[in-house]
């Protein structure tokens, strides 16, 4: 497979991915330039000041020289620029401002477990059914409470997420057991799922396609097998898919760890 150069990054498929990519590219170009300049100077010093019998040492003013702080100033200015104009605003955009209200995002729960991704869509009523840990069993991996009316039309999937392209999706990320991490390289998205917490994550996929969702935080012996797919479809296809999955009764989702 061949990617365009782009520092080896996989294709970008989310709205904020280009922002992250441009940062990675900018920093790597800067690093490369710094390293080359610096390496050239270093090599020059090694050759110019190698030991020769007839050439002595030339002492500079070592005690009061602040010369070695000069690169610091340059680095500092670069970093301050990065922080103010890049890191803080983009960070807020990705991790702190969540779609809601009039944006009408696609909402879904992603509930990680050893070693599978459970996905819960609220169904046509737009309400998530209640979940209770007591109810979790082989056939009900997320402990959906079927006595709850809101649970009746919920769609529960394992290791498969469907999202419409061009629309924002709000994912409520949680986990049943240990820390997992929701990572989709093409979305440039990564967020740990922490036991006892429900963490919001948003993404706006831009390219239709199938992407790999892989756990990015060590979660046990089968960590590397904890993968799923994210299917990004055109909005029409997505709606069609959603309709086809809307159950009269809740789905029987795949058993835990069924993917290995």
């Amino acid at each position: 497979m061949s990617y365009a150069f782009n520092w080896g990054l996989p294709p970008a498929a989310a709205s904020f991915a280009p922002e992250i990519d441009s940062g990675i590219a900018l920093i790597h170009w800067a690093m490369l330039i710094i390293f080359v300049l610096w390496g050239a100077f270093f090599t020059y010093l090694l050759i110019r000041y190698r030991h020769r019998a007839d050439v002595g040492v030339s002492l500079d003013d070592t005690t009061h020289s602040l010369k070695s702080l000069v690169p610091d100033v340059i680095v500092m200015i670069f970093e301050i620029g990065l922080i103010i104009f890049y890191a803080i605003p983009v960070w807020a955009h990705i991790k702190m401002k969540f779609p809601g209200g009039n944006e009408d995002p696609v909402e879904l729960n992603v509930i990680a477990q050893q070693f599978a991704w459970n996905v819960q869509y609220p169904g046509p009523d737009g309400k998530f059914g209640r979940r209770k840990p007591e109810l979790i069993n082989f056939y009900n991996p997320i402990g959906l409470d079927l006595t709850d009316p809101a649970a009746q039309d919920d769609v529960v999937l394992a290791n498969e997420i469907h999202l419409p392209a061009g629309a924002k999706a709000l994912i409520h990320l949680s986990t049943l057991d240990v820390i997992h991490s929701f990572g989709v390289p093409e979305f440039r998205l990564k967020q740990d799922a922490v036991p006892g917490m429900e963490i919001p994550v948003w993404v706006k996929p831009t390219q239709a396609g199938t992407y790999e969702l892989a756990c990015a935080q060590l979660c046990g012996f089968a960590h590397s097998l904890m993968t799923g797919v994210v299917v990004v479809q055109s909005p029409d296809q997505y709606q069609a898919w959603l309709k086809s999955r809307a159950p009269a009764k809740p789905q029987q989702a795949a058993a835990p760890g069924a993917n290995f």
Binding site: F42, M96, D192, V194, P195
Partner: protein, 577 residues
């Protein structure tokens, strides 16, 4: 009570070499023990590298020797891979580099460089070594103890670590090792601050001593939180409390019985409160060693001695407030992410200042390319790569993508291996004549150097490429994830280089053993260096100095105009200075 380190060395073998209180013997004990741990940790990673490059194939040669429970048919299981990963990290960091850089070099060199006859608390020093030894042996023996070795990474994130077998042994050993480091830190600080020779003011201390003192402060104040956290995790495992376990967890279909109410993020905070200062514990002694070697081999004073010292102090303080840049995507509040982003960017400033000072120190010098100097020179660009690649990781936004990928593995191995270990190897060549009164072989030293540097780059540079492709760390079978396949061949490059790296350690090991017994004999000051450790015989006798030294000059009195030699030892009185 107080006089057993004065006068003559104890005569009995046990008191002299095993339960020794002499800082030099303890230093060498640390030296040999930590190298053994480093080699064991390296062997572990060779097995892991095989699995990464050729997942699912039997490990050649040794695969059949491993218990079929862990490696059926010689093929590594996920459990074994995770155990090796956790143990590799723990061994290399807590049992390898810290004891080598801080305890071994510190014990031997620090009292000599300040002109003291021993450490402030010789018996606590002994206790410190034996706690470390017992903790280390216990850690290793966890492979054969019930439950096996820990499987949750060296970070032991809760609650995974709470449910995994083998973690209890890890925690007990960690408590022992931490206690050992705490005692060591108290000893080093007291010695360095209180027992300096007359005339040796703070700003006449060699950079190495400064590095050791700052390192001690980091150990002293950053380790107790991890010790407390380890005790809490131990309580969770042994007495079934739930400090790090929230309510309502269901593990593989079974409801967890713990009462709940704990916080997994709290463990991460407490762990990284140590974890980040620990990075500088690995690094500062190495920087100190590099500074010593550079000054002696450029025949001129260090450029910006004070800048280096203040930078080290600044690193010491700042390293306590940057810890959560390891946690940007951990679920920690994104607001705090901004705080740690700013502190992380600030801490790069003193590091850059130190590196720049090292480079300017070359300017105008007369560079002797001795073996230790080669290592010190290699430190600069290679540590530079490690430092630079920290930038995209320390920046919140780019870290979202690069977090926990091979990029970070490459980054910190560049810092720790081509940074710390390279410098520590240089330190071995530099101070070997002092320790044994004999030199190591130059030719084989150069073979070791060029081979190691080439192989290290071969191991770690591909990791940046793999990481930029988006491959996560800690995957025992990376090919199980389709998006990892395009960059997979780089794993093979890395694995082959790792084998070569091991091969290139053979000349080093043989050189050390050969040097101890048959090396060329040297005088007390073979490098014509100025600091106090070169003013006593090689190897120094019990009690170190024939008479207590007095200090008259700054540490790096090289090429002092008007003096008859091009080095003016700190303890030589000379009017013209």
């Amino acid at each position: 009570m107080s006089d057993d380190q004065h006068g003559h060395a104890p005569r009995s073998f046990w008191r002299r070499y095993v339960f020794a209180t002499d800082h030099k013997v303890i230093g060498l004990q640390y030296f040999f023990t930590s190298w053994v741990f480093l080699l064991i940790g390296f062997t572990m990673v060779l097995l892991m590298r095989w699995e990464l490059a050729y997942p699912g194939t039997p490990i050649p040669f040794v695969g059949r020797l491993i218990s079929p429970l862990l490696a059926p048919g010689g093929i590594m299981t996920g459990e074994l891979y995770n155990s090796l990963g956790a143990m590799h990290g723990t061994l290399m960091i807590f049992l390898g580099i810290v004891p080598l850089g801080f305890a071994a070099f510190g014990n031997y060199i620090l009292p000599l460089q300040i002109g003291a006859d021993d450490m402030a608390f010789p018996r606590i020093n002994m206790a410190s070594y034996w706690l470390y030894f017992v903790g280390g042996v216990l850690m290793l023996s966890s492979f054969i103890l019930p439950g096996g070795a820990a499987q949750s990474g060296w970070t032991s994130y809760a609650p995974l670590a709470e449910f995994n077998p083998g973690q209890t042994t890890w925690l007990v050993s960690m408590v022992l090792i931490i206690t050992s480091s705490l005692l060591g830190a108290i000893n080093f600080l007291t010695t360095g601050i209180n027992m300096r020779a007359p005339g040796l003011s703070l700003f006449r201390l060699p950079v190495f001593v400064w590095a050791q003192l700052v390192t001690s402060v980091l150990l002293l104040l950053a380790f107790p939180p991890l010790e407390a956290a380890a005790v809490l995790q131990l309580m969770d495992r042994v007495l079934h409390t739930s400090f790090f376990i929230p309510a309502g967890l269901v593990v593989l279909g079974t409801k967890v019985a713990a009462s709940g109410g704990g916080s997994p993020l709290l463990w991460e905070h407490l762990f990284w409160f140590l974890g980040h200062p620990e990075v500088y514990v690995l690094l500062l002694p190495a920087m100190g060693i590099v500074c010593e070697i550079i000054a002696a081999n450029t025949r001129k004073p260090l450029h910006g001695y004070k800048i280096i010292v203040y930078s080290m102090l600044a690193i010491g303080v700042l390293s306590f407030v940057v810890w959560a840049h390891h946690m940007f995507v951990s679920g920690m509040s994104p607001m705090l992410g901004n705080f740690f982003l700013v502190t992380t960017m600030i801490i790069s400033v003193p590091s850059v200042a130190i590196l720049t000072s090292m480079i300017y120190s070359l300017q105008g010098g007369s560079i002797r390319f001795s073996v230790p100097m080669l290592f010190a020179l290699a430190f600069m660009p290679l540590f530079g790569i490690g430092g630079l690649t920290g930038l995209p990781l320390g920046l919140t936004v780019t870290d979202i993508y690069l977090h926990d990928t091979y990029y970070i593995i490459g980054h910190f191995h560049y810092v720790v291996v081509t940074g710390s270990i390279i410098a520590l190897m240089g330190g071995v060549y530099h101070w070997f004549p002092k320790w044994f009164g004999r030199k190591m072989n130059d030719f084989w030293g150069k073979v070791h150097f060029w081979g190691s540097v080439a192989a290290m780059n071969g191991v770690f540079f591909p990791m940046f490429i793999i990481g930029l492709h988006g491959e996560s760390r800690r995957l025992y079978d990376p090919t199980a994830q389709i998006h990892n396949l395009p960059a997979h061949y780089w794993h093979i490059v890395s694995t082959v280089s790792a084998g070569l790296l091991m091969l290139f350690q053979l000349p080093f090991i043989i050189n050390v053993i050969h040097g101890i017994f048959w090396g060329e004999k040297t005088q007390e000051n073979p490098w014509k260096a100025t600091t106090l450790e070169w003013a006593c015989p090689s190897p120094p006798p019990h009690g170190n100095f024939e008479k207590p030294p007095r200090v008259y000059h700054d540490p790096y009195g090289y090429s002092v105009p008007g003096y008859r030699e091009d080095w003016l030892p700190q303890n030589v009185e000379w009017e013209g200075a």
